[in-house]
Symmetry: C2
Subunit: 340 residues, 2 copies
Amino acid sequence: MRLSLIRPSDMHVHFRDGAMLRDVVPQTAAQFRRAVVMPNVPPIETADDARAYERKIREAAGDAAFRPLMTLKLTHRTTPAMIRDARDVAVAAKLYPAGVTTASHDGIGDPDDPGLLAVFEEMQRVGMILCIHGEAPDAFVLDREATYLDVVRRIVGRFPGLKVVMEHITTAASARYVEEEAPARIAATITVHHLVHTLDDVIGKGGIRPHHFCYPVPKRPEDLRALRRAAFHSTSGRIFFGSDTAPHPKGAKESACGCAGVYSAPVALPTLVELFLESGREDAIRRLEAFASTNGPRFYGLPVDESDTISLEDGPWTVPAEMGGVVPFRAGETIPWRVA
Amino acid sequence: MRLSLIRPSDMHVHFRDGAMLRDVVPQTAAQFRRAVVMPNVPPIETADDARAYERKIREAAGDAAFRPLMTLKLTHRTTPAMIRDARDVAVAAKLYPAGVTTASHDGIGDPDDPGLLAVFEEMQRVGMILCIHGEAPDAFVLDREATYLDVVRRIVGRFPGLKVVMEHITTAASARYVEEEAPARIAATITVHHLVHTLDDVIGKGGIRPHHFCYPVPKRPEDLRALRRAAFHSTSGRIFFGSDTAPHPKGAKESACGCAGVYSAPVALPTLVELFLESGREDAIRRLEAFASTNGPRFYGLPVDESDTISLEDGPWTVPAEMGGVVPFRAGETIPWRVA
């Protein structure tokens, strides 16, 4: 069996740099129309940084049709002028609370800092999207996302023209906020691993699994259910796919202090097909198109080319145990779909 | 500075077998008067198993004063006759719910099984203590202990003469149950790592830390506070120290699926001194004696020899990064107390 869908866009990826970048970019470029590229490794703070990084990614992609969408990292060094300068090269800027995850030590300490508010003001003016890693670093690990919702609410209330993406949401509370409370200019991405895992898959199934570990950590079964409900059934157009694919070398995961990040790019799309088909909806593939192919670009104000499609075929595929020194999501599992 | 306390007893240890046993037993024997030895690795199901294992431990201890207290592992094979036969060699029998932790696949599936109830009946008759790893394996990892409390309540209600130790409790709910609800024949052990860690220390501080991973997993900050309150301040005599020290080779921890267990024996006593002194109680060392030296043996009906003491001295001690291929609790940390 074969099925076809509008070529998806991955609205949240980590491409890293150097040899790692050259290994991982082609995986995303082969399957996705676009990818929103996170700016933490290497740090992308200026228009020039973004242009140079975009060039590297395009070279590595080897597919002229693939379009990396660049973002800026917000730090205490960011100024309104830097936003203005980058308006043509960066679609978004990313807020990392300081210390919240990989390479975020120089992220935002005080979300009410006047300098930062001036930056948000300029983003609002030029139409640059604000992407938020919404976790309060000082809160208990399971409460960080819920705690940071108050900061998100404050930013959203202060800047009535700012578009905001809450990245990789993991809780029922965040899904409820986007779907029931927030204005239409607020959206959220959901990863594929957060549609599969709870905390049980990290520390609850007979061992501790660093390859399932990321920030935000996956939460409770009821949170997983709420995320699936949003991904499979939402019609708001404001819930869309961002894999947060984040490769680390195997040795940096299987260690006394393993890094946060799940490398899902090679297996994200087949897994999404599997999940949506299991959702029981008759229009599962059309729902998947909304989630993975059209909602994200539309929210970003980008065209959707319905004639550009990708095919998947059934037949078991065993995910490699390792790809370029990185252990991918679902390594070693035999899964029912693969990209044709 | 030097301080002295009645030599403590560790009411919950894992000694393993072979070379590992010969490495770890002397660490415990050098500091503790006794240790209650868990029966899962190697499996100890009969009186003969217990006698043979006790011999190995005594040989490895190299200290004739150290007394291993043996336990039986309850499985579907356990009979009342096996309990009767073991009454002189085993002080307790251990209930592992099937699949709940390391080497528990043949543990107890149905806690209401008539054969098991006959075993409990016999334990009650001969005065053998029931030690319980109180987690419901099928529940979400953070709910397992709270869910299993109902099973504990049922056992306690059914056998009014059975003494029960809830091992390594990790929640405010369990502490409350023992202190406020349960009859006087119910006690609980608390480990040293559960007096230091929350889940943040496993997955919440910038990485995933397999050497801090055990079952039950440490829980929330309010649970840590409740455990500390019980350890530092309880006067019931039914809260006592069991380290659950559980060595695994470094490679079995730093892996794609790391084993559960914290190897705390070498550092448990200095850490307890540090914690109790920080509790702010003027009688901190007397409280530590109750927790670590007298409550446990008294609950087990064993004599306490107040003239047998151990000394600790201050002055920084850097915990080795590795001991016999195992990464100990607080590896590499410089801590303020050491055994003299």
